[in-house]
Symmetry: C2
Subunit: 343 residues, 2 copies
Amino acid sequence: MNLKELSSLLGLSQTTVSRALNGYPEVSEKTRARVIQAAEAHAYSPNTRAQGLATGHSKCIGHVISVSDSAEMVNPIFGDFMAGAGETYSAHGYDMMVTRVGAQDEADTYRNLKARGAVDGIVVHAPRRNDSRMELLDKIGLPYVVHGRSTGVTTPYSWLDVNNTRAFSEATSHLVGLGHKRIALINGQETMDFAIRRRSGYESSLRFAGLTIDPALMSTGEMTEAYGYNQANTMLDLDTPPTAFLVASIICAAGIRRALDERGLRVGRDVSIVTFDDCLSYFANGGDRPVFTAWQSSVREAGATLAEMLIDRIRAPRAPHDTKLWEAAFVEGTSTGPAPSKD
Amino acid sequence: MNLKELSSLLGLSQTTVSRALNGYPEVSEKTRARVIQAAEAHAYSPNTRAQGLATGHSKCIGHVISVSDSAEMVNPIFGDFMAGAGETYSAHGYDMMVTRVGAQDEADTYRNLKARGAVDGIVVHAPRRNDSRMELLDKIGLPYVVHGRSTGVTTPYSWLDVNNTRAFSEATSHLVGLGHKRIALINGQETMDFAIRRRSGYESSLRFAGLTIDPALMSTGEMTEAYGYNQANTMLDLDTPPTAFLVASIICAAGIRRALDERGLRVGRDVSIVTFDDCLSYFANGGDRPVFTAWQSSVREAGATLAEMLIDRIRAPRAPHDTKLWEAAFVEGTSTGPAPSKD
DNA sequence: GCGACATTCCAAAGCGCTTTGACAAATGTG
DNA sequence: CACATTTGTCAAAGCGCTTTGGAATGTCGC
């Protein structure tokens, strides 16, 4: 069923039917009702491609997922982010397109998406320091919003970020307040801007507390369970092992917990853990007494909000940029306690 | 830059340029080379929508993600599956569209996707018993492949599934062989076909071993970490608690491990765990000695293969259906051991 | 030198929609 | 009742591509 058929069925012109369905005022309410009813009866939905060709926009949002070359890691927050964004998109009649790409073809992918007119806008994921994507997207004129920020990029852009510096600074202070002096940082990949901010929050709090910053207690890598496990083991084997771990993701924290359990160390008594928590739906850290003491911020809500921001941006590409800095929430779980006294 | 501009730039007709780029033989190699070079120089990519309108297909694959109404769970395998499928799609010039939908609007979503001509085919995720989607898709004529199978659906369809029955039957036998008599099943939602098969594999092995099937040792639910934790705690509080857990996902298994650790029970000695493992990139169960004894099958590879199958299907919609039953691989980890002797 | 046959290219139609500009019909105004 | 205005509708153009059905041009054998 297409417009032509539907309109001849109704004895109306394509123009009138199209206008009736798209809510234009030039058509009488009586006709409109008749058209809408017929459209529903025949399950008519305008052909997306034809509509897009005629209007000049695709009503589709792109998400480019860079899969790192080294490890073939898929970011575990991906699903929840998409779920949040997807809800917003469908509410506004947008489709969602996902493109997987190796890091080196990144720029080409963006250019291609624009040239083909495949999407009206995109969400930039996992910004790096001095990320070149914003400049590229500005140049080619593809609207975008950024999930996170990029230190070093001076031209304005729209973003939503969690206050990572503060979360990690406060988390460190919290541990310091509990008497911990050897606090390890199990960070994400420090090519990522958020990881750099997290480290800087951690370092500034250590410095403030007059504690030394020990490179042996800092690690950076892809936030898998195994990475947490391995790093914890390495650090616990040090001559002066850490008494607390500050961790970039709950998946990682699970790995650290495993290492501790295996060594017979009691989490929250022998060794403390504070983690950042993206509120993943399959790894909830909630309840009366959450497992992990954590700074949390829902990646799903971030997805929904960024989607909203992007749609606004597509509607008004010249509007001033919108930026949102969300504060993570602190929840105290069972994974922290006073530093064990040395005997 | 569009076809019209490019062709006038080259002093050729649109026909010739189009044919040159699409590899038709009616154009001399000399001209073709010239055209291709110009196209690259001007970063020309045909407009997707126009191309789709003219050819009648969208070169786009749909993935409909049903988000359960109860819990707002996003399946943790989603990201890895997409990564696998995405690779195949881009290799074949297909885009990937993701639609998030609540369970009740499911049928409408499929119909709409077809009516709008938004996708050329779709992947059916998480089939239920007597799943109605295959019949619907056959009726509306939208090519599809199924990730899993649906008991009760008699019309043929293309699918790829892991031999869940066998994996869970063997896993149970393995535990029985180690002397376990009280083996718990922490299953996924038993509205899902795969969960039903897993249970049946488990039950048949118990029956074969002459062990009683105790409903108190079987649970079904969404496979989150917290679910595993809660179920383990409930069952360990029974008068005659299980000595082994058979688990549907590694995320769940992590929750069970947490419950055990918390109770001071040693995994693999006091209580055994066997889990199904989808080889999630952020929760790898590998190395010399894997953490969990597991039956594993890569969901990422499943994604890549299903994508391939779907593309074939789109090319030849009347071809006989392709079905693939993959056997999961057994890996022995540290999470299993002989049943503790009663004293 | 001429018909036969490839080879190489093109004009134009068509995909299904939106939108412009025009035109009847209905309504209001003096 | 003549005229201006609004209302409701339509035919046709255009979005950027593919593809059909020719039409030139070149090559060859006789």
